[in-house]
Symmetry: C2
Subunit: 305 residues, 2 copies
């Protein structure tokens, strides 16, 4: 059972060596993360971008490039297409954003010929190991889908359940969060949460147990659930996946945890043919390295399908 | 300058002794908090409710009632009206919920004859001292107003600014939060945030500096603000007040901080003639005591007006 981020890293160590294709690799923070991932045996990398600039940036951070494959493509978007095609063609296992704006990067992800498009909804998943909390927590969507409707929420759950399975959580418990734990017709979020629970019961969302609406404390704290007498629920403080009502609730909570709690976390974009690592400039070094580790575990699970 | 919850408690010590009127006081958790508040010199209490039951509950927690004024009113709602009238008539300084459902308690707060109704919007404010964060944070609204529109958001800010002033923050910085820090017409939350900023500039929201939309990291972490190059904003990680887009975002964030970070916090309901303490069954002992302390500080400031 995967309970901590260290357990997840142990899973990476048991995988075959993965390779990350970096789009527009001349970015110091991304190169540092890639170098650390290689050093720790998490993943190898192929660096696509302006070779002269990549060498310049690598020199500035004392990074030895002799063990890296570099593909010289000076144009930014061409570099992205070249990098994503490596993943599309199975020559690399995951795709990572370098010095390219998010919009162009996503365009390359969705390219019909060489991209990683599927018929699934793209969504963002972050995996938290929070000090004092027993078990990993998978949060979605805190960064990508602004205002998911019911079907989008169902798809976010399906995507996140796949990631949880890949991480070794066999039947994750999914809590659609709200401010309250009872359905209130004046709060559409609670109606959606109940509907998602019903879809799970009817077999429309599988591989997991959904129980919502739930407040955050009832979802993650069994003592709080007992104190509130909410012990007849399917989730009693033991949720694995937290579904957020919208991007504001998700993003604010995500950042409150990152900035005010003691956490280890990694984030990926999913719903694609292969894991996509879309770290933000505000993510710290460890989060970037951890995100590559999550990508490796997910790539291993996808390869086995 | 009030920077920590201890600073706030020092302010209480400098106030004249306050009295809390407890509605339907036969509740063990509420009596324990009231006893502790008295022991620490935070506030005296007058206990309104079923005297026999109050004595029974007090005995069960080894609480000595000899120093307390008890007013025997057996009927629940009549007890609430009696307690709130004490505050209305200036015989007590704040009003606290005991063993009565929230709806009936609020009905007594809003009673036209003996209640604490004003022409202001009622809103909930919680005050956090978070380990590792410099300065108190005032969060609103995480518990009371489900989906505030622009005018309700302006009123929430006005109420919260008053509380911040009472706590010794002279010109609080107010961050209307969103997932992003730029206005996006597809995200109404960001449009409202910009409008609130404009209302502040035009003198429609006073006694504070409003700057939104802001993401949580830019609001509370100056390093993150510098890293993202957002140093030309009026708020650069130094927000005092965090305005949430809706109750879901507020409540989930509140509970994530309470359960996963190291915090000291107290909560009150405001927009009333006197502070109202509406603790939840999920609030722990210290939060209940701290909420009485916040009430005392706010009552002191209201008395001086």
């Amino acid at each position: 059972m995967t309970k901590t981020f260290d357990d997840l890293l142990a899973k990476v160590a048991a995988c075959s060596t993965k390779k990350v294709a970096v789009a527009v690799a001349q970015d110091d923070a991304v190169l540092e993360a890639v170098a650390e991932a290689k050093k720790r045996g998490i993943a190898e990398a192929v660096l696509v971008g302006d070779e002269a600039k990549i060498k310049e940036v690598a020199a500035s951070i004392n990074m030895d490039l002799s063990d890296y494959e570099i593909i010289n493509v000076e144009d930014t978007y061409e570099a992205a297409l070249t990098a994503v095609k490596l993943v599309h063609d199975g020559k690399a296992d995951m795709y990572m954003k370098g010095l390219i704006d998010t919009k162009s990067f996503l365009k390359s992800v969705l390219d019909k010929e060489v991209g990683l498009r599927t018929d699934k909804t793209l969504s963002h998943v972050c995996i938290f190991d929070i000090e004092g909390h027993d078990g990993l927590l998978f949060l979605s969507d805190v960064a990508f889908i602004p205002y998911p409707d019911l079907e989008a929420k169902a798809n976010i759950i399906r995507n996140t359940v796949e990631i949880a399975h890949a991480c070794g959580i066999e039947c994750p418990k999914v809590a659609p969060l709200a401010a309250v734990e009872v359905v209130n017709p004046k709060m559409p979020v609670t109606v959606d949460a109940a509907e998602l629970t019903k879809m799970n019961e009817e077999g429309k969302i599988t591989g997991c147990i959904v129980d919502g609406p739930l407040s955050y404390d009832l979802a993650i704290d069994s003592e709080a659930a007992k104190h509130k007498g909410a012990t007849d629920r399917k989730i009693v403080g033991d949720a694995d996946i937290l579904l957020f009502p919208d991007i504001h609730a998700g993003n604010i909570t995500y950042k409150a945890l990152v900035h005010n709690a003691k956490v280890t976390n990694g984030n990926i974009l999913t719903g694609t043919k292969a894991p996509v690592i879309l770290t933000s400039r505000s993510d710290d070094f460890e989060t970037k390295v951890n995100s590559i580790a999550v990508g490796a575990v997910v790539a291993e699970a996808m390869n086995k399908q």
